[in-house]
Amino acid sequence: MSASFIGPRIKALREERKLSQDDLARLFGFKDRQTVSAIETGERRVTAEELVIAVEKLGASLDYFTDPFLLVGEGRFSWRQTNVGPQRLSAYERNAGRWIAAFRSIAPQVGREAPLLRRALGLHKGSRFEDAMEAGERFVAEFKLGDVPAARLAEVMERELGILVLHVNAFDGISGAACRLPELDVVLINRHEVVGRRHFDLAHELFHILTWDAMPPEHSEEARETGGNRVEQLANNFASAVLMPTPALDRFGDWSAIDAGKLASRLNAVAEELQVTASALKWRLVALDRLKPAVARTVPDAALRNNGRIADDAALPPPFSKPFMEVIGLAVDEGRVSARRAAALLDLTVDDLADLFATHGVQSPVEL
């Protein structure tokens, strides 16, 4: 990343402080506002002395202007959460922003640029739920997600669509988020969620990424598999179809023929196989008219909780992701990011950082 981010950050802070370019020119001691304009557009480099003036006069830290691992006035997030207050969410967003900003800054330096072009679904707010489901089915077919789409979805998002997918440690209540930067799309998933919910969140956020311009999502939305506003319902229908496409469901026979007493256990077993929640499966079958709503309502939620398992003993996915760690690894190995700085970014010790590379099958560059 070049120094070009310093100028735009000065501009962002000037605007936040409601100062004109003339005002800033006076603060810096420039003859006219043209120099300020040149700095803000990155045409002219800031000197160290000017940077110190900016720190003193604009009341921000040096890191605000110079840390490439910060999102400043960039990046729009859409969170899936349950009962998380705005302050906690905002604090977590700042932290997550550092991982995203670091990747955005480093990836091009190590030859891992984001794709030049973005994919988009041809859906809009007026689209029908059936349209969203059809789009989900076609997505599975086009990207050859196979019989268990959940198993390969993250990989396809990363490799085919260039979306950064990060499994993160987030506190209870945060399910995940989609984040859009001018040059990068990111999906964050709370790695502590049960596997079926993680996959649903992933497919749901994929919808937001693929429809962001036509249907910008809310900054924060409640995490649920049904209901919500129109965009959320479209996203849920798309996600259900991606994870449970009709060809995959056809393998499991006629649901109407299943005895009511065995329905819950059958839902749980099939959900386990498809790596989804049994609850999401139930409503997907209703949407496809393979299960009558009245029958679905007879299955108590408690019987489907955790897909009928007493404890969720499934292994958690390792933090972050292999593509993310590959980029960090290359940056450390090439001397673009120091090992201590990388460890601090991920809130790890240098030794834990080395272990995390190994966990992802990435050769550790840490030699300290």
Binding site: A3, T66, S338, R340, L348
Partner: protein, 171 residues
Amino acid sequence: MARHHGPVLIDTNAILECFRVGSWRALSSGYNVETVEDCVTETQTGFQRRRAELQIDAALLTASLKAVHPVDDAQRAVVAVRAPDIALDVGERSLWAHALTRSDAWVLCGPDKASMRFGVRLGLKDRLIALEALLTDAGHRPKEALKLAYTTKWLENVLGELFISEGLGRS
């Protein structure tokens, strides 16, 4: 190699490694070793970013150093504008910020590749020195082997790679 008689600027990584192999006394008594306040902080438990932390008494460490320098924003800003794309940790950045204020014959022992890239970019390749070289020149051989990044050969190899990577090897 002739023993260096000027100031030796040392970063957190090198201090920790020197303590780990039991060679701090040999280093600090053999040279005028200096560092910055941020690096001293990073040698303390809770700030080392190492899984097995060493117990290093800050007062004793400071007493064994020739100087511990404070670093201000004006000095850090110089590092930021000279190489905005190289992401250094706090102590590494402060050590370079301090080094750039000096005009004497200092050498710097900071074995992270990013820190070394900064030195190479600024034309200060010859100021970088390996911990192994310092100890050897002082007539000390650590009881425990130094990790690879603190050896003379590793430093030479990496400096060569970085020199080319920075486009400085072209005629």
